[in-house]
Amino acid sequence: MTIGRKIALASLGLMLATGSALAEGITITSWGGTYQDGQRVTYFEPFAAKTGIKVTEETYSGELAKIKAQVDSGDVVWDVVDVDSNMIATGCDEGLFEVLDYSRILDRSKFVEGAATDCAVGTIVVTTVAAYDKTVFPEGPETVADFFDLNKFPGKRGLWKRPYVNLEWALIADGVPMADVYKVLSTPEGVDRAFAKLDTIKDQIVWWEAGAQPAQLLADKEVAVTSAWSGRIQTAISQEKKPFEVVWDAQALDFNFWAIPRGAKNLDKAYAFIAFASDAPVMATQSKVSAYGPTNNDAMQHIAPEVQATLPTAPDHMKNPLVYDAKFWGANGEALTLRFNNWLAK
């Protein structure tokens, strides 16, 4: 009996101890893989070393449901989450995130245009690009139109299994000027036109769902050309020495953000972390680890020229970008996703 009681007391003590340990730190959730490995070195460990606030990491794949479940139940475990712009477009109006007080982070004007939003602050410039294997196509595709040209560049195509960027690219390949893409896509005829263009390569498409897949599909020669998030391809080129090449034409410019789920328990520490991670010299180290652009305008001057040349924001790569419109997708995403899933299944 006494032994049992001792064990009970000990485990109670242990629970209290871990409870207080959790209360001291913050929980940050991101997308896993090489991306989160980079964040650990760039942000989490230096932040913990500087402030003494322990960082507990979690991983997810952008399931807004996991945030909604916490907010609805009032038991918010995640203090800071790395989110994409589609999640912000719907989640901000649905009240899933705290409205940010920029006086506690950094002046809004310091950020790249579009990065400082009401509910989330940009951490990286991430772009969707096309990529191919140089050993397969020595004279590779150069434009989005080439991506859709099966005669000039035969072989399977990798695309993300979501409508985002695919519909835009289809219109661009079909000859719609870059500036009019979202205007055309807002009309029923424009949507039909985008799907008709996708139809021309449909039987050659391999659909990917996780960010790590495109580089793998290329390496396995499962696809000849694929869409991908630029940093993942850049990592494969610079660290794994893969013979890949990036097509920067019509790269879809977007952001990843830090956001605080509504009702987060460690609000002050969450702000402290986001302010730390938005600091120009700190953010600059991120670009060395995974090749995404910084969102703080002052960060560029801390980045070596040879690293700058690999980033999506390098002048050479910004000749013909597509500025991704998260607002458009917030308003039309549901209907277009339904149509897209339907089209997929047919």
């Binding site: 399931e63 807004l64 109006d93 020669k221 308003a331 549901e334 149509r339 299944a345």
Partner: protein, 398 residues
Amino acid sequence: MAILSAAGVQKARLAGLVLPLLAFMAAFFFLPVGHLLMRAVQEPELSQLAPNLQREIRAWDGTGMPPEMVLVSFRDDLAALQRDRRAAVVAKRAAAVDPAYREMIMTAARAASAEHAPTPESLLDAAPLLQDPATWAALRRVFAPFTDSYLLATVDRTRDPATGSVVPVAPNEAIFVDTLARTLGISLAVTLICLLLAYPLAYVIVRQTTTVQAIMLTFVLLPFWTSILVRSAAWLVLLQTHGVVNDALMSLSLVSEPLQLVYSRAGTILAMVHIQLPFTFLPIYSVMKSIPDDYARAASSLGARPSYVFSRVYLPMTLPGVAAGCLLTFILCLGYYITPALLGGPSDQMLSYYVAYYLNLNVNWSMAAAVSLVLLIITLVIYVVYVRMVPILHQTER
């Protein structure tokens, strides 16, 4: 009397033994599952978010334009929601009826939350769709305490916004009937293939010595001990365009171009058969093991030819095992998610894919609940048919 009470005590003791399990099942299975499934017909959120609007709009009879009270509560509830940043939740519910309603609700919410509250009439000017009585009739249905719209959506039906009658959805939005047919088709194909493989296998294994049986059984059961995810991923490695199978076929010059084995129906069914085979095999095997040789010998001694012995004596006696094995495989197949997701193409996804999609990505838990309910109902129907069939099967056994 004494004996009876002793039996009663015994019974109570036995009940006491399973009581923890029952309590566990109730607390962690039936309650949460039931709660989630209720979402298929109910919107618990709306009554909390816009209580006044719900009360007023339900009190109205739904003809023509709504009275002033509805408009006022519409304005006030939306303004409060907008300040609390929850207006989009209502907008999302309304958008399920018509995608244009999302922007309408959000525009109205922004206008309503302005510093000087607008008159209800000027709110209608801000979002012109609100001037249409049909919009209000549709909104009234959005706020109904119970809704059939999610269940209707799972059979590609919807309510006409103006009249409220059930109509088919636009052809390019219809998705679930096809998916349902595909789910049943794939499950049936896998069940039949499993049966064709498992029956002869069980027939051979029962006829071995005990030692050989034990060894062969180990091989059959081996896949059981590996997770479904690992096995599906292993098939991916084997079947991909430059995978083991295609490389072997190419080097043997059996094919000139790599075959498309992954991201296809064939790959999905192949991997599912591999996973389901033990589930079909085991019930058949155990029934065959319990059939003595005497019956077949008796039939032969009376002059029956082997084919006659098999079809009229042996096969009927194994039918209960066949039915149990096929039922198990078919029901498990209905819920497959990870194997089609890894090995199938977009046109090979089954119903569970949409449960995951609505739950995780779309965050439309009502729709996820409705799709789950459809799966549950199909499973129950099949089970009831099976239970009815069992006595008939046992009759043929005799």
